[in-house]
Amino acid sequence: MTKREDVHLLSGAYALDAVTAEEAALVEAAMVQSEELRSEVVGLSDTAVALGLGIAPIAPPAALRARLLDAIDALPQQPAEEPAGSLDAVEPASVDAPRLDVVAPAETVVAAVPAGDHLASRRRRRRRPMAALALVAAAVVLFSGGFLVQRTLLEPQREYTSVVTASDRQKVVGSVAGGGVATVTWSPSEHRTAVELTGVTPPSGKVLQLWSVRGDTITSAGLYDGGQRYALIAGTPSSGEVLAVSVEPDGGSTQPTTRPIVQVRLDA
């Protein structure tokens, strides 16, 4: 799979979403270097959309409409432009960065791709190949050498999906002070808790830190990377446990140093 022509042969499977995240990243990295491949992927992705348009429409259950209209009341929207350093910000400058050939073996690029919401960013990338190139380019610079990043960012995607689709999943939603939503989903069978924050961006130089609060014992449950869409925590909450999120200095704190922006009581 490391040979260039092998990656090129994945264009059709990529367009059909019939690749793993790792393979998708390889294709996206190869698109940086090959206009021919990029153009082919765009055409085949459009063809995949045409296949979707050929499916007979089915009216969804009526209740869904009302539920959605209720849900969006509490759901913040993303601003038109992403914060500096992200997709839109790097778009024009680094599209044609040929030096990447030197910097980045394909495996490194794999590590770089999910620098954020990989489902959504991959989707954006599929819609916007040039922006995709820029994202890959920027990410390569940030993470060149990051096999660990691959492990910690790609594997959780599967774990996250397992948690939020588990048949025994439980979910609690809380509002974030100043706007935003915190969604905590856990699954006893998966032994994992997923925390998803939307509409929350930590100030520059600060991080969001998760806390488990049991009685008067507060324990760090990890950092919430601003570029990520969710955090995964090992284990599941005990009844009455509270998950809190606070803004902390870069690197995190041993105990919260600011008032939590959200506290969610996790009752099973």
């Binding site: 059709g12 055409g43 995949a48 009216a59 959605l68 929207q77 989707r123 599929r126 819609r127």
Partner: protein, 197 residues
Amino acid sequence: MLVVMDPDVGDALSGMRDTPEHRLARIAEGDRRAFAELYDATSARLYGLIRRLLIDPAQAEEVTQEVYLEIWQTASRYKPERGSAVSWMLTMAHRRAVDRVRASQASRDRDSRIGIRDYDREYDQVAEHVEITMEGARVKRALEGLTELQRQAVELAYFGGLTHTEIAAQLHVPVGTIKTRIRDGMIRLRDAMGVTA
């Protein structure tokens, strides 16, 4: 630069000239009514696609909900010059549905091998449903231009939500063969449907 489909395909297939693109722009400004209108205009199409992949109505409804919430949240990121709104939404819907298929498939695999049978059933249903819409007729004609093996591979990928590696395993064919088969099939479909990049 993306999704310049044959115009009559785009219009006929989306079935709405008063455009989802404008509605998305309004949604990006927090317009709930535009969201409701967009939902009314597109939900059957998205739900139809998602249900084709997931079969199970309850799961399809959940995924449809996820997709529309994502549309609400990310409407500002939609760029009309990069393709039609419906393409953007269908791409998102397909991706989400595939994620769910794989998640369910993973849990099924832990228990049994029932998954394979489900996909076979799904495959048959796809062929049946594709026939009953006008745009479906066009897609069906294009699909008929493929070799039987190409069509099978493309359909297992797009409608079955399988990866090319899973398809190879299911059909007992080398991975490289499936990769090529899918690519050749997609190129032929692209040319038959007049899709240009």
